[in-house]
């Protein structure tokens, strides 16, 4: 197809423009360095924004990690004092109700021996006062913390085991105790008769004893004469006018 005469070849124009030099047009006041100086500050915030964005993500990740660790550790920290209190509770209950006879030596399990030695050691003239009529209690050994810790924690927890181990290390308690070291419990109190009388006299009296008359005579060294016989006056009533 013959090109129209009034049409300029487009390819010719493109070729002309490809031959242009890689420089500003002649007579131009364009300065590339000046343009870069204006452009450079605009580019810098993008770099800092990117780094700040990463910093934001990093800080957020650290905070989330710390919160996660805190919530993971805090319950175990709370359980520790509760577990410690729980350890003591069954310990005291066991001491009163369930003696650990299985772990105790044979001497502690024999409850008749203390009773027998108690009756034979009483001196004459003394009365054994039984404050409580009950059988002598067996000597309870203090259970070890280790045994209680193991029995009280059904599900072994690493943190708890570590805590119990540390507790055992810090407060070592001997497993076996000598019978002689244990304080002996005396159900009866041996008191002399004169001491008892003195206690009764020392007690605050509930009633006045001014009008009381001693009946009967005590032991006197000199016989009383007729002149020294006091008149026996016995008030019939407590009224002051009679």
């Amino acid at each position: 197809m013959k090109p129209k005469p009034d049409e300029m070849p487009d390819e010719w124009v493109r070729q002309i423009l490809r031959r242009l030099p890689d420089a500003p047009p002649p007579g131009s006041s364009f300065d590339s360095e000046r343009l870069w100086a204006q452009l450079r500050p605009e580019l810098q915030p993008t770099v800092t924004q990117q780094s700040f964005g990463w910093m934001q993500w990093g800080i957020a990740a650290c905070l989330i990690g710390l919160m996660f660790v805190w919530f993971w550790i805090y319950p175990s920290v709370e359980k520790q004092p509760l577990a410690a209190n729980g350890n003591t509770a069954p310990k005291t209950r066991a001491a009163t109700k369930h003696p650990f006879k299985q772990n105790l030596p044979t001497e502690l399990t024999q409850t008749d021996a203390p009773t027998q030695s108690f009756t034979t050691a009483m001196p004459t003239g003394t009365t054994a006062i039984k404050s409580k009529t009950r059988a002598p209690e067996p000597i309870d050994a203090v259970p070890t913390i280790q045994d209680v810790a193991i029995k009280s924690v059904p599900i072994p927890d690493l943190a708890m085991i570590v805590e119990t181990v540390t507790v055992v290390e810090k407060t070592p308690i001997p497993l076996k105790r000598n019978v002689a070291d244990l304080p002996a419990k005396r159900p009866f109190r041996i008191v002399h008769q004169n001491e008892l009388r003195a206690e009764e006299e020392a007690r605050p009296k509930l009633y006045s004893t001014e009008n009381f008359v001693r009946l009967g005579t005590g032991q006197r060294t000199e016989p009383l004469s007729d002149d020294h016989r006091p008149a026996l006056v016995m008030p019939l009533t407590n009224k002051p006018n009679q």
Binding site: P3, P5, D6, E7, M8, P9, D10, W12, V13, R14, I16, L17, R19, L20, D22, A23, P24, P25, P26, S28, S29, F30, S32, L35, W36, Q38, L39, R40, E42, L43, Q44, T46, V47, Q50
Partner: protein
């Protein structure tokens, strides 16, 4: 080499950005000048174009040098068109009465062609003619794409291109480029 430069620019390396800027700044300034005519406006368009290019270079996939240059040119052209739209320089499109005498035919100029003169003549075209001429002849857009970019019809785009060619031919003749009819005569 250029690929490594692009990769460094994608990482935000300031030295790489400067090197890339120095390599393409003059070429792209000429592109910008063909659209906006005045140098201060062309510098503004060029700066906005480089800003956009460096901020979006992380999404650019480098294949070859021509692809990089074509990508940068596209950004400059879009910024130039946006500048023209913002400054309300569309249209005016010259009517037939305002165009000088049209030549009878077109002749290819000889080898001693002053490329700078041709470049200057293109810059002298009216805004509407110049824009359509640049988009169609130099950038390779179709009339449909030009119509979408400039919010005109395809017929208007064709008409403007024809008129731009006519004006340019007239000026070439006036500047000493002979036509075929004159040569044959």
């Amino acid at each position: 080499m250029l690929k490594q430069l692009v990769e460094q620019c994608q990482r935000g390396n300031a030295f790489a950005q400067k090197r890339l800027f120095d390599q393409y700044v003059n070429r792209l300034f000429r592109v910008s000048l063909r659209y906006v005519r005045h140098e201060p406006e062309a510098e503004e368009v060029l700066m906005n174009a480089f800003l956009k290019a460096f901020r979006s270079i992380s999404g650019f996939s480098y294949r070859d040098e021509n692809g990089l240059e074509a990508w940068l040119r596209r950004i400059v052209v879009n910024e130039a068109l946006q500048h023209l739209r913002a400054n309300r320089q569309f249209p005016p499109f010259l009517s037939d009465d305002e165009i000088d005498d049209q030549p009878d035919s077109v002749a290819l100029p000889d080898a001693s062609l002053d490329v700078e003169r041709i470049y200057a003549l293109i810059r002298e075209l009216p805004t509407g003619y110049r824009t359509v001429f640049n988009l169609y002849v130099i950038e390779g857009y179709t009339h449909r794409e030009i119509a979408e970019q400039l919010h005109i019809s395809e017929n208007t785009s064709k008409s403007q291109l024809s008129k731009a060619r006519a004006v340019l031919q007239t000026w070439l003749i006036q500047n000493g480029y002979e036509t075929e009819t004159r040569r044959n005569a």
